[in-house]
């Protein structure tokens, strides 16, 4: 390691307590399919970074949301690129989570003691889909608005309590600025925080239980 790292490490003591972790045994000749989860996590990091950047210019209000997305795409330098990165990372994330799930299933890596980790992974998928759903409304354009009209109306089909659920999701009878801010809050605070917690648990269990040897 470099001299700067050594200097920091002598004071911060990072490498010694993590020696066992860094030098832990990993079954030789793992296939490249074991990369899928890591790739998904890379995409999560990309999403967090580009999302933080977009939040600098995005305005979550009924009157300004669409204009601010226009500004990000047309005026902000590299704005279109950052938006593209966010969108593509999101789509690829779902794809790679699905592929990772397939790999884990085929290797039977959900068997005891890893049942809980399967559940943590499933929660990750649910949180990702929820982020995709709430993020879809944020550009506040034609497609976003009407797609959200239809999808939020879906909860109102629940017998008896449907209408109350609809009000709960929309923050009112119609989709308006209240709904936008609500979805924005979920998208940038609640869901990423929950995601962080669940992923921490996911990785903690991988670390403790080791990598499943496969078939």
């Amino acid at each position: 390691m470099g001299r700067l790292f050594d200097w920091v490490d002598r004071r911060f003591s990072l490498s010694t307590p993590h020696k066992n972790f860094l030098q832990r045994g990993i079954p030789a000749r793992l296939s490249y399919l074991y990369c899928l989860g890591g790739i998904a996590f890379t995409l999560v990091i990309l999403l967090v970074l580009t999302g933080m950047m977009l939040s600098i210019y995005y305005v979550p209000s009924e009157a300004e949301a669409f204009q601010s997305v226009l500004r990000i795409t047309r005026e902000v330098r590299l704005g279109a690129l950052i938006r593209g990165l966010h969108k593509w990372s999101a789509n690829l994330l779902i794809l790679f989570i699905l592929l990772h799930t397939l790999r884990v299933f085929l290797h039977k890596a959900y068997r005891p003691p890893r049942e809980l980790n399967w559940i943590a992974g499933a929660f990750t998928l649910v949180l990702t889909l929820s982020s995709g759903f709430t993020g879809y409304l944020l550009p506040w354009n034609q497609k976003a608005y009407w797609a959200t009209v239809v999808s939020t109306n879906m909860v109102s089909t629940v017998p008896l309590i449907g209408r109350h659920l609809l009000y709960l999701v929309r923050g009112g009878p119609e989709i308006d600025g209240t709904t936008l801010v609500r979805f924005y809050s979920l998208h940038v605070l609640w869901l990423p925080l929950a995601m962080g917690l669940v992923l921490w648990a996911h990785f903690h269990m991988v670390k403790r239980q080791g990598i499943s040897g496969g078939l």
Binding site: L22, G25, P27, A28, R111, L129
Partner: protein, 129 residues
């Protein structure tokens, strides 16, 4: 299993770290290429007064297709009930497979069923919109 080492094991650092970093690099590179070649559209401002047919992202197409099959008062079966049951079955897979050959097959069947369900309902609206 666990942290104990095997003769044939490699260690995470440095054996695997470089491979992981290569995967990370390739991922980021691919996303950059895609973002530059296929930029997302801005679409247009909301039009509150004309008929419009919104379509969801590809990962929600299965629900979009599902709601077509449940008319009238049965709509909640397609919109809420089946998705929740599917999610519950998906989460429950480790508890179906209890290590025996038979339950292992049951779990495989369940996983295959959910996969086919997802794939078919995603492909159908793509082919016949």
């Amino acid at each position: 299993m666990g942290n104990h080492r095997d003769e044939r094991d490699k260690s995470f650092y440095p054996d695997y770290l470089s491979e992981i970093l290569a995967a990370i690099f390739l991922t980021i590179f691919t996303v950059f290429i895609l973002a530059m070649v296929y930029a997302p559209s801005i679409d247009r401002e909301i039009n509150y007064v004309s008929a419009y047919h919104p379509k969801p992202e590809w990962y929600f197409l299965w629900i979009y297709q599902l709601i077509r099959y449940f008319p009238g008062g049965w709509a909640f079966v397609g919109t809420v009930l089946i998705p929740i049951v599917a999610a519950a079955l998906f989460i429950g897979i480790p508890f179906v497979d209890r290590g025996t050959v038979r339950s292992g097959r049951a779990a495989s069947f369940l996983f295959a069923l959910l996969s086919v369900f997802f794939l078919v309902l995603t492909v159908v609206p793509l082919l016949w919109p």
